[in-house]
């Protein structure tokens, strides 16, 4: 369903993100991004559709640049329009070898 959330790993353009936040506040920056897309996607949802706010699981800033979050399809669509968005990969379970 449209409102159902899936966990995604979101890759962001480090050079564009760096310009938009102060050092040490990457997570707050992503939270602000998520807040903005949530407001936007909520406006797009049917009024009867209950929208769960997106949740950030992790902010990544050393080996990669981005975050993981639980998002609905609409929230993901909104996120894709954010400057610096590179890709979103659904979270998956890997196995021990």
């Amino acid at each position: 369903s449209i409102g159902k959330q899936t966990t995604y790993v979101i890759h962001m353009d480090k050079s564009k993100i760096a310009a938009n936040h102060s050092p040490g506040s990457v997570r707050q920056f992503y939270e602000a991004v998520i807040d903005s897309i949530n407001k936007f996607s909520s406006q797009q949802e049917d009024q009867e559709q209950e929208t769960t706010p997106p949740q950030i699981l992790y902010a990544y800033e050393n080996a990669i640049s981005g975050f993981s979050a639980k998002l609905s399809t609409k929230q993901l669509k909104s996120l894709e329009t954010v400057d610096g968005f590179l890709s979103a990969t659904p979270d998956e379970l890997l196995t021990l070898h």
Binding site: T7, V9, Q55, D91, L93, T95
Partner: protein
């Protein structure tokens, strides 16, 4: 581990295990199922204080506190937000919501890479010896990202991200998924970031062999590790009532069984009894007898559990053609032996040929001296589906029947019903070979502090060997009767030889930009490249670059179509890390159906650090088969810098 250091040529006080080298600080990060911190292998007796550069920490959680860390285990974190978002809250009756290891896998891999020396280590008296991690004085940081149902990619990324920030030098990942383009492979993307700042990343190749193109974790900046047998085995002799006997494998150390009735399938229970699945065995038919169980459907030790529950006296675990002649030893809960597929067929034929079949099992304990190494059938194979231009796996290390540390509350069979507790367990997988290489990389890192991750990788690859302890080519348990010998798609460059790797003569170095150029040659879009580059990256002129140009220490040559005289040219640069004023001459073993020309055939170095280039031209003379193999070796005195060549049409 016991024995594998010796098998790898590591000896106390000499070479890489020299005290001076071991005194240097190297931090190995292990992303796995956590760690059992109280294990003797992680004691910190005599270890100096934690280095000031270390930014890691010891996270508190279920049955885990900061006091569980010490000067040996300097970091422990748990990542479960992704896992819980998919699977639901962790069931704390089966796992710890903390870095504490409930499964054993992480404790085993961490100790294999860097566990401290433990005297008289053994499992039920088997594999007895002095256990040591490959770089046993290294510090360990455990990042728990794997739980009872698997490892969420978002948690793994969080673990890699944190490990890099904490300051690990080496990362060991004995896990994976399915092979996919690097821009969709989260481990590839994160390990690129780690490699970029000097962290060596070693990953297991996967356990999906012997099928071709099953290798995982194939990005060229990752060290992809295949698994082999050492010459240590745990034989069990199965004697049938008709007098025929077969050698299998077992970790049972008690007395053997006398000749007992043998039951299988319908003579043991209902449908499913041939696989010994839950509830399929009939106690009346099984009690006091040896039960034959075929591989598949449930776990190997789980079959033994079912036999024991039904009152069986023993088990013969028969491989199917899929497992072939693989002889993995398991800590079964009753006297049991694994038999290869051909012995299995003979056993079944015998059972069908007589009304009262019988068998006995005699356990031989720990035996040394088999031809070794031999490539494990389960070890995943190339060619890589993602990067045809790089041979994967890269190298092979011991990964079958490896004894290493085990949690105090986990049974060696990993069965809940098994109340045995052990200090060490013997298990198999590329999961076990990977931390061997992680530890070896840590050793090389301490000897050559200025070497890049690519240089360490190159040293381990170009010094790997392809002949066994009988001076014959390394065999492959998963090989067909036509080709029982292992190829570069099974063992990569060969079996690691750490002492040779510490002094390789020449290295093939690769910088971050080179990897990005390689990705350009794969026609990655600017968005896909930005995942690795961290922003815009301008590719060089596409005509100036092709994938084979990556300065990789092996050659994957792909002739598209079987066209005679098709020619491919590769370039390589080698850095002299041996002696000044030295001359290398090239020696080529041409793959069948391929003409190889090297220009120049001689490389003369004037000083250490000097870089010289050469070109290799491969001309297809039309292959009779779809693939053939050869090698290119630069030879100078004691140095032989070898690169495998794998050709596909």
């Amino acid at each position: 581990t016991t024995y594998s250091p010796h098998f790898l040529g590591l000896e106390s006080g000499i070479g890489l295990w020299d005290a001076t080298n071991l005194a240097k600080d190297v931090i190995v990060g292990v992303i796995d199922t956590g760690i059992w911190p109280e294990h003797i292998a992680f004691q910190d007796t005599g270890m100096p204080p934690v280095p000031s550069r270390w930014k890691g920490g010891c996270e508190e959680g279920t049955k885990f506190s900061q006091s569980n860390c010490n000067n040996k285990l300097i970091g422990a974190r748990a990542f479960f937000k992704g896992y819980e978002s998919v699977v639901g809250r962790i069931n704390e009756t089966v796992d710890y919501r903390s870095p504490r290891d409930a499964q054993g896998h992480g404790t085993h891999t961490a100790s294999t890479a860097a566990g401290n020396i433990v005297a008289n280590a053994n499992l039920f008296g088997l594999a007895r010896g002095k256990a040591a991690g490959m770089r046993y004085t290294s510090r360990i940081a455990a990042y728990k990202a794997c739980w009872s149902l698997g490892c969420s990619s978002s948690d793994i990324l969080a673990a890699i991200d944190k490990a890099v920030a904490d300051g690990v030098d080496v990362l060991s990942l004995s896990l994976g998924g399915s092979s996919r383009p690097y821009y969709r492979d989260t481990i590839a993307i994160a390990s690129f970031g780690a490699t970029q700042i000097g962290v060596f990343v070693s990953c297991s190749a996967g356990n999906s062999g012997p099928s071709i193109s099953t290798v995982d974790n194939t990005a060229p900046w990752i060290m992809t590790v295949a698994a082999s047998y050492t010459d240590r085995s745990f034989p069990a002799i199965v004697k049938l009532g008709n007098g025929h006997s077969f050698e299998g494998s077992s970790l049972y150390s008690g007395k053997g069984s006398k000749q007992l009735p043998l039951v299988f399938g319908k003579t043991a229970g209902v449908s499913g009894a041939e696989y010994c699945i839950n509830g399929s065995l009939n106690r009346k038919l099984v009690k006091g007898k040896i039960v034959i169980c075929q591989r598949g459907l449930n776990s190997r030790t789980g079959k033994g559990e079912q036999v024991k529950l039904a009152g069986g006296a023993g088990m013969l675990l028969l491989n199917s053609d899929k497992e072939g002649e693989e002889l993995i030893a398991d800590a079964h809960v009753l006297p049991a032996a694994t038999l290869g597929a051909s012995a299995g067929k003979a056993v079944k034929k015998y059972v069908n040929s007589t009304k009262r079949p019988t068998a006995s099992i005699v356990f031989k304990g720990t035996v040394f001296g088999n031809p070794a190494p031999v490539i494990a059938s389960f070890s995943s194979r190339g060619p890589s589906l993602v990067g045809h231009d790089v041979i994967k796996p890269d190298v092979t290390a011991p990964g079958v029947n490896i004894l290493a540390a085990w949690p105090a509350t986990t049974s060696p069979s990993m069965l809940k019903s098994d109340d045995r507790r052990v200090l060490f367990n013997i298990i198999s997988g590329t999961s076990m070979s990977c931390p061997h290489v992680s530890g070896l990389a840590a050793l090389l890192k301490s000897v050559h502090e200025d070497w890049s991750t690519a240089a360490i990788k190159s040293a381990l690859m170009t010094t790997a060997y392809t002949l066994n302890n009988r001076n014959s080519p390394i065999a492959d348990v998963g090989g067909s009767s036509d080709t029982p010998l292992a190829t570069a798609f099974a063992f990569g460059s060969g079996h690691v030889d750490p002492e040779s790797a510490s002094d390789p003569g020449l290295i093939y170095d690769i910088a971050t930009e080179d990897y990005l150029d390689y990705l350009c040659s794969l026609n990655y879009t600017s968005l896909q490249l930005a995942l690795f580059a961290g922003g815009n990256f301008t590719c060089p002129n596409p005509s100036a670059f092709h994938p084979g140009k990556l300065n990789y220490p092996s050659f994957a040559v792909n002739f598209k179509g079987n066209v005679k005289n098709m020619s491919l040219e590769y370039e390589r640069s080698v850095t002299n890390v041996g002696t000044s004023y030295c001359t290398y001459a090239v020696k080529v073993e041409e793959p069948n159906g391929v003409l190889v020309t090297i220009t120049p055939p001689i490389l003369s170095f004037q000083k250490i650090g000097e870089i010289l280039s050469y070109k290799v031209t491969f001309v297809s003379l039309r292959g009779a088969s779809n693939e053939s193999f050869g090698s290119l070796t630069w030879v100078s005195g004691k140095y032989a810098v070898k690169s495998p060549i794998a050709v596909t049409w």
